[in-house]
């Protein structure tokens, strides 16, 4: 009897240690699309990096409501602004705990020092930590965080004051973006003392819903649910695993076989099959993105309005949406998606009219057509699932009005660099919104300051347009801003620096067991509030 009891105890112990993954039924496996470059969100710009750190380990002062572009309180409970909109005061949440891990045991809760440290990194190049771990903060500089913040001060343990140099209407939205994730100043000090400052990028400590456990490049990232998370009811999983699977077909097969619960970026061609699978659900949402073709207005003959109009009229968008997006897209009219506030609903697309295009070309003095380069992206992006295919369609369309297009492509980094420098005649690119502010569309992609090296691939600097958006940026009244942005879109549509092609639908296939997932308009994948049945 004695022996039997002991045997039983051993057997139970074995079972418990051997199958923790099965015993803990609340494990979600996410087949992610690539390895993150690191876990310090401030250093990166890609969704892959943000999903693995900002959306799991970290919180921000303010955060985007899950599945929407609305901002809600995060680590700051509330905030107020001065009458001139240059001073912003944030009142911080009390009692928020940083993660306790094998490599760090926090002695205090979250306070103003952490916020000051996080933003000092962007604006103060001489910060000892920055010297120990030199890096760039690309997103912070794109959002002008580094130049526009005059100072950031700790008023008391739970109050922080930002002073800005000029009014930025989207300031609070920007703080909700992944790059502004709040680090622990205590952890940073510890690393600095130990001379391991770069460990901030490999072993992250945050306040977020999931605690980082381990990372194997090209294989997996493991997280534990944060049992002490400040927001009750947001952590419904015991474990979260990212199974890194770069090939879209393999991801699809893994999902069908039940090796993972959820996957990003399915191939458009595979969606119909997944919708028919009784074990899977496909969640769709109109994408907060835009795929477009920019005409380089500094190159001849695209400097002529008639030529741009003709090229625009000659493109059959419906055929592109059928073939490239396989129906998972809607034709775009404006340089922003319809879900963005200030979208001008009165504007109409020029449509598909090759006859009129030919006439316009004749009028512009190019009756026999001309040759231009058409750049096609080498990668699949949410806004353009197959740029090469799209380029071939456009090439065939243009051939009908006598324009010979030569399709060119480069490796992705090189492609962006050369395109920003203004090398192509026409270039296929796109944009996914970052913060839900119209300036993030019109200013970043079409403003004069983005010409030559910035995101203004059309190299298009129109005074009338630029005046409108620069003025709108300094206002805080949403109605006034809307009026200005609507006017700016009219100018855009009249001058045709781009052919706006499509807003793609974001499809997220998942197992039926997954509950409560919401598709992020920004293309991020977050698992707080998600559970497994």
């Amino acid at each position: 009897m004695q022996l039997k009891k002991r045997f039983f105890a051993v057997a139970v112990a074995c079972a418990v240690t051997a199958v923790p993954a099965l015993a803990a039924s609340k494990t979600l496996i996410y087949c992610s699309e690539g390895s993150p470059a690191g876990f310090d969100p401030a250093r990166y710009t890609a969704g892959t990096d943000f999903d693995a750190s900002a959306e799991t380990v970290f919180n921000r002062l303010v955060e985007f409501e899950r599945g929407s572009t609305q901002v809600r309180p995060g680590l700051a409970e509330k905030w107020e602004t001065s009458t001139d909109n240059l001073t912003w005061t944030f009142f911080l949440r009390k009692g928020v705990k940083f993660h306790t891990t094998e490599y760090f045991k926090p002695t205090r809760t979250f306070n103003a020092d952490d916020v000051v440290f996080t933003f000092q990194r962007f604006i103060n190049k001489d910060l000892p930590f920055n010297k120990a771990a030199p890096t760039e903060f690309p997103y912070a500089s794109d959002m002008e965080m580094d130049t526009n913040i005059a100072s950031i001060e700790k008023k008391d343990d739970s109050t922080v004051v930002f002073k800005l140099k000029k009014v930025d209407a989207a300031f609070v939205q920007n703080l909700a973006m992944s790059f502004a994730s709040i680090h622990s100043a205590e952890y940073a000090d510890k690393l600095l003392k130990e001379g391991k400052a770069n460990q901030l990028n490999t072993q992250p400590i945050g306040t977020g819903p999931f605690i980082f456990k381990s990372y194997q490049k090209d294989a997996s990232i493991r997280y534990d649910g944060n049992k002490e998370y400040w927001k009750k009811g947001d952590v419904l999983l015991d474990k979260l695993i990212f199974a890194i699977t770069t090939d879209a077909s393999v991801r699809t097969q893994k999902l069908q076989k039940g090796e993972c619960h959820l996957m990003p970026f399915p191939r458009p061609a595979d969606i119909a099959g997944m919708k028919a699978d009784p074990k899977l659900a496909v969640m769709s949402q109109a994408g907060f993105n835009l795929g477009y073709l920019a005409y380089n207005v500094k190159h001849k003959p695209m400097d002529q309005l008639e030529v741009r109009q003709a090229l625009d009229l000659a493109i059959n968008k419906k055929a592109i949406i059928d073939a490239v997006y396989q129906g998972a897209g809607q034709a775009a009219t404006n340089p922003m998606p319809p879900t963005q506030w200030s979208y001008n609903k009165t504007l109409k697309d020029a449509g598909f009219n090759p006859e009129k295009a030919k006439e316009l070309l004749k009028k512009a003095g190019h009756a026999n057509g001309f040759e231009i380069t058409l750049w096609a992206m080498p990668v699949q992006r949410p806004y353009n699932p197959n740029a090469k295919l799209m380029a071939e369609l456009i090439q065939a369309d243009w051939a009908k009005i006598g324009v010979k297009a030569k399709i060119t492509t480069y490796e992705w980094g090189e492609y962006l660099k050369r395109a920003k420098a203004g090398e192509p005649d026409s270039v296929l690119v796109g944009w996914t919104g970052d913060n839900g502010d119209p300036d993030n569309w019109l200013g970043v992609n079409l403003g004069c300051s983005a010409v030559g090296g910035g995101n203004n691939y059309a190299q298009w600097c129109n005074k009338e347009f630029d005046d409108l958006i620069v003025k709108a940026r300094t206002l805080t009244n949403q109605q006034e801003r809307t009026r200005l942005y609507e006017k700016a879109q009219v100018v855009f549509k009249r001058e045709v620096p781009w052919t706006t092609i499509a807003h793609s639908t974001t499809n997220v296939p998942m197992r039926k067991e997954v509950q409560g997932f919401k598709v992020s308009p920004f293309g991020l994948y977050s698992f707080y509030g998600v559970s497994i049945k």
Binding site: R267, A269, G273, D322, A323, L389, E392
Partner: protein, 310 residues
């Protein structure tokens, strides 16, 4: 290589013909032994078929290879339920007729094969002969250079060359020619070296033949058999290399139909439309197998030792 067949130009043949023995003509003898090889004959028939398809593609192909039938994207082949007989092998992701693209693609692939073989064959032979006739400084230099080229993985070298010259069909052919150069040089040099010590070469030399005459009139014709075989095999590997470069986006540029490029753009549809990837894949496979079988047949027919065994 010193069969009477090969040295027919040494004026022995007329005397033979005058005698009562009737020897088959060299060509007939070659043809007979080639025909005896069933695989090679079948391959020859297939290749003849492909050459006709390529040469007359503009008239034989049912559709324009770059015309996009946008209302029938990804139409399955004719024998399947949804198929249409006017699109025998179905259509691709842009509604282009796959059969027509394959036929026009054959022209591209054959041109690549032919041009790149010629481009590497001619300099290869010259360099090989030179290094055999001047084995000291010049020969060593040439052979070491070839060794260096062979030390690099051929596809990698081709990619590097195309990257420098820029993507496109002409540069693809140049790249393939450069990559396959060493094998011709080595082959020519090896057989020329073994011929150089033979009596007939010494005789020609004693009769006062100059270096050039020795090289191209005396030695070269007797080295041709292995080189011809290598050229046939090189033809098939050129098609494969071009397909590989096309697959990497470095070869033929759209909308030109090329087999490798077709294969690459079809990858996205492996799960949903099998024919888009299968058709060009099978075409490349059959062509390469046929060319290799032909190469084997040629070798057997041209090599006197193997011929006796057959």
């Amino acid at each position: 290589m010193t069969t009477p067949v090969q040295s027919a130009n040494t004026a022995v043949a007329p005397e033979m013909a005058a005698a009562s023995y009737s020897y088959p003509s060299p060509l007939a003898e070659f043809w007979a032994s080639f025909r005896a090889n069933r695989g090679a004959s079948a391959a020859l028939v297939f290749m003849a078929f492909m050459v006709i398809a390529a040469l007359f593609a503009p008239w034989l192909a049912p559709h324009d290879p770059i015309e996009q039938h946008r209302d029938i994207l990804l139409l399955s082949p004719a024998w399947t339920a949804q198929g249409q007989w006017s699109f025998l092998l179905g259509t691709d992701e842009l509604g282009r007729d796959i059969l027509s693209r394959l036929m026009h693609g054959a022209r591209v692939s054959m041109t690549i094969g032919l041009v790149s073989v010629v481009l590497s064959l001619l300099p290869g032979i010259v360099l090989g002969l030179v290094s055999a006739f001047y084995p000291k400084a010049v020969g060593t230099a040439i052979m070491r250079a070839m060794d260096i080229m062979m030390a690099l993985p051929s596809l990698l070298l081709a990619v590097a060359i195309v990257a420098v010259l820029g993507p496109g069909l002409t540069n693809t052919m140049i790249a393939i020619a450069v990559v396959s150069l060493p094998s011709y040089v080595r082959l020519t040099r090896a057989s020329a070296m073994s011929e150089l010590g033979r009596d007939y070469v010494i005789a020609a030399r004693l009769a006062g033949a100059g270096k050039l005459r020795l090289m191209f009139n005396t030695v070269l014709p007797n080295c041709m058999a292995p080189v011809i075989v290598q050229a046939t095999l090189g033809f098939s590997s050129a098609i494969l290399d071009a397909a590989a470069l096309g697959f990497l986006g470095l070869g033929a540029q759209p909308p030109l139909p090329e087999w490798g490029t077709m294969l690459a753009s079809a990858r996205d549809y492996i799960e949903s439309a099998w024919w888009v990837v299968t058709m060009p894949g099978i075409t490349i496979l059959f062509n390469v197998v046929a060319l290799n079988l032909m190469g084997d047949g040629l070798r057997d027919a041209l090599d006197p030792k193997l011929k006796k065994l057959a």
